[in-house]
Amino acid sequence: MTAGHASLVARGVDVSVAGHVLCAGVDLEVRAGELLAIVGRNGIGKSTLLATLAGLRAPAAGSVLLDGRAPGAWPARELAKRRALLPQSHEDHFASTVLDTVLVGRHPHIGRWADESDADVAIALEALAAVSLRGRELREVRSLSGGERQRVAIAALLAQQAPLCLLDEPVTHLDLDYQIETLDLFARLAREQGRAVVAVLHDLNQVLRFADRALLLTGAGAWLCGPVDEVLQAEVLSRAFCHPLKELRDEGRRYFVPAQEGNERRT
């Protein structure tokens, strides 16, 4: 991995919802060419932190800099060319084809008076091929399954071609093979194209396999950030997830599984 320039810098960022502090004083640098995983329990503030990093909400304290400027200081379109966010859920209020849905990602690249060009369509088709949905361009999105819909959203994010990709649970509704495919795709985008990828992930073994670094939110505002192998240790993970975890080794790789005994609950 080549450590590229800092794409996103967070300094002393507090994230709070309704006066309740979720993360306190988060210091984070996301560099071009790396995949950073955010892990932690439900409701601990992963999505809120991601939205803060994306500039959708202001940090309660501290600062976020995206390519050297606060997200709000970038013109809206310019910001959209620099960072993309994959939200956790997708709404479809009106009928739309798969291709039109993916072309939405091209919006910041197209001038106010211009239409999507053939080049934009080519980029959208390429994005669809990357999520194995080529050939379904004209399907109505609302007729797709939840997992297919998620892959359409990933294709739209790819079509946006932003150097910083923030992914909120990108593989949650996907079949196992597509989970691996998707994470492999983003790991390659980071490695080969120098993109910076931040992904909220639930499967610790996927984090071990695909992420370069991890940010572990341990609750009560506390957090831990560093290379995956340093952060992901059985003891700290057991505490963070309120369930004892056991580390296994196979062919030099580490795996975590929930321990059978000592089913201690959160106190």
Partner: protein, 339 residues
């Protein structure tokens, strides 16, 4: 990586929108032109093609020419312009509420206009004041809905819709009250106004100019509006100034509706049915949907108004009754077919 989906390559309509725009808009414009010719030609005094041609080329077509120039032409312009205004306003409201069943009436704007107009009739004021009163009523309802829906939280579509429904219900009650206390002479005029009537339109040119201005205002916003239909968060992420755009759309739709109801009264269904039909037929791209809705709405209301003054001639029907009678079955048929 492509083991499961060996993509059977489907030909992709790369220039789908562009191709559609090239044939859909001229086709609808042609339909509108045909409706115009029909509106000028038919009626209790028959006007021949020769008369129309003479008039168009600046000649003197006598009695028939006078009827066309002073009666049928202004009325046709009013009906067409207001049909376009209502359809365009309906399409904008549907984007704003992200609900294909929204229209200017749901948001209480025409209810406010009705209260204003009927109050003016109740006190027997002159026609210019009546229009002013209807316009003020529409804007007041708009300000009420917008102000209340804003509240502490965000201006969510659900909040807007609910506030609109409540304001609309309140206006309905006020209208009933006015009808109950009105005297016999003004009652008939009030009922015609409530049902929509193009025969009394006094300033058709204003409606036409506002329609064209509205269409021009929408043109540079159309792609942003496409994103707005996909949710505020998506639009925001892709660089659309969501809060500002929603405000602009609401003001624009309200102004268009206010001008339309002030000109022809309460004509229902055009704002709901027309954008819906266009969406079912040609898709939901606002770059095509907005101008196509305006053209189709204009043609529809013009045809409806022509029918309203000819089917039971010499008596006249309120055009709003006809739009509802035409709109409901067409709407139900299409809804069923595309299920």
């Amino acid at each position: 990586m492509d083991s499961h989906a060996s993509a059977a390559t489907v030909p992709v309509p790369v220039a789908d929108l562009r191709r559609r725009r090239v044939w859909v808009l001229p086709l609808l414009a042609l339909l509108l032109a045909a409706a115009f010719v029909l509106a000028l030609a038919v009626g209790s005094v028959p006007v021949t093609w020769v008369d129309l041609w003479t008039l168009v080329t600046g000649g003197d077509a006598g009695m028939a020419g006078a009827i066309v120039a002073t009666l049928r032409l202004p009325r046709a312009i009013a009906a067409a312009a207001c049909g376009g205004l209502l359809a365009l306003a309906g399409a904008l409201m549907q984007i704003l509420l992200r609900n294909p069943l929204a229209d200017p009436y749901v948001l209480g704007i025409s209810g406010g206009a009705a209260v204003g107009a009927l109050l003016a009739m109740l006190f027997g004021v002159a026609s210019a004041l009546l229009e002013l009163s209807a316009f003020a009523g529409a804007l007041a309802a708009m300000a009420l809905v917008f102000g209340l829906a804003h509240g502490a939280g965000s201006r969510t579509p659900t909040r807007l819709l609910l506030t609109g429904v409540i304001v609309s219900a309140g206006c309905g009650a006020a209208v009933s009250f006015i009808l109950a206390v009105a005297n016999e002479q003004s009652l008939r005029g009030m009922l015609f106004w409530l049902m929509g009537d193009a025969s009394t339109a006094s300033r058709p040119g204003v409606a036409a100019i506002v329609l064209i201005a509205g269409l021009l205002a929408c043109a540079p916003l159309a792609r942003d509006l496409n994103l707005l239909t996909r949710g505020d968060a998506t639009a925001q992420l892709l660089g659309v100034p969501v809060a500002r755009l929603r405000l602009v759309v609401y003001l624009l739709a309200s102004a268009l509706t206010a001008v339309a109801v002030t000109t022809v009264g309460s004509v229902g269904f055009v704002g709901l049915v027309v954008p819906h039909l266009i969406r079912l037929a040609f898709g939901n791209d606002q770059r095509l949907l907005l101008p196509a809705s305006a053209l189709a709405g204009a043609a529809l209301l013009l045809l409806a108004d022509t029918a309203a003054r000819t089917v039971i001639a010499p008596a006249q029907l309120p055009v709003g009754v006809l739009t509802a009678l035409l709109g409901v079955p067409v709407f139900l048929f299409l809804l069923n077919r595309h299920r």
